[in-house]
């Protein structure tokens, strides 16, 4: 199994809503990532987890809250988002930090 599975594929939420994005991999990878991608731009790193511990937070606003319940799962909890947070949110994993990334198909998020 070389897949990273993300749900949901699409999400529309209001600025007062709370929602969660989910990511799962069963490749035994110990590093997991959240990236944000705007149209015509490269993926922009948000968070890195290594061995289920948060190792990098790229100064992401607190309205984004990551969680790694176990080595296969990664969540991104969303609360009080702004319209400018609308983007494609990509989860990725790698065997260890710095190695090649396997990306999920992403969640296209629209904040109204």
């Amino acid at each position: 199994d070389t897949e990273v599975t993300q749900t949901p594929k699409h999400l529309v939420m209001g600025m007062t809503n709370k929602k969660s994005l989910k990511c799962e991999q069963h490749m035994g990878h110990r590093a997991m990532y959240w990236y944000k991608q705007k149209a015509k731009k490269p993926p922009e790193l948000m968070f890195v987890y290594s061995y289920e511990k948060l190792s990098i937070n790229e100064s992401v606003p607190s309205r984004f809250s990551p969680e790694c319940p176990n080595s296969s799962l990664l969540n991104l909890h969303l609360h009080a988002l702004q319209p400018e947070d609308s983007a494609l949110y990509l989860c990725a994993s790698s065997h260890s930090r710095g190695e090649k990334l396997f990306f999920g198909s992403g969640t296209q998020l629209s904040v109204l």
Binding site: K41, P42, P43, V48, I56, G98, K100, L101, F103, G106
Partner: protein, 112 residues
């Protein structure tokens, strides 16, 4: 700084023509990774270059790593419509938790 500069931003070619994208860094790279993102898709790992002067081939794709390990290129011979997408280079920062930062990407369109 942290950026890898990638050029050109866009390239439009006639099917059968060649295509090249370049990544340049002001500092020496440990290694460089290349990814392809199809329209509406997610980034997919293509290759990693590690050694100074390294050249790797994947069918019509040729990847090079400069002697000084500060630049890299991806060359596609005789483009096909299946080559359409955005090509990103990515550099890992092992002294910053192994995070991977992407270049701005080169969007390739191929006219049949």
């Amino acid at each position: 700084g942290q950026q890898v500069m990638q050029i050109p931003q866009y390239q439009h070619v006639q099917e059968g023509e060649d295509f090249t994208t370049y990544c340049n860094s002001s500092t020496t790279l440990s290694n460089i990774q290349w990814y392809k993102q199809r329209p509406g898709g997610h980034p997919v790992f293509l290759i990693q270059l590690v050694k100074s002067g390294e050249v790797k081939k994947q069918k019509r794709l040729t990847f090079q790593f400069g002697e000084a390990k500060k630049n890299s290129s991806l060359h596609i011979t005789a483009t096909q419509t299946t080559d359409v997408g955005t090509y990103f280079c990515g550099r890992p920062f092992y002294n910053q938790g192994g995070k991977l930062i992407f270049g701005q990407g080169t969007e390739l369109s191929v006219k049949p």
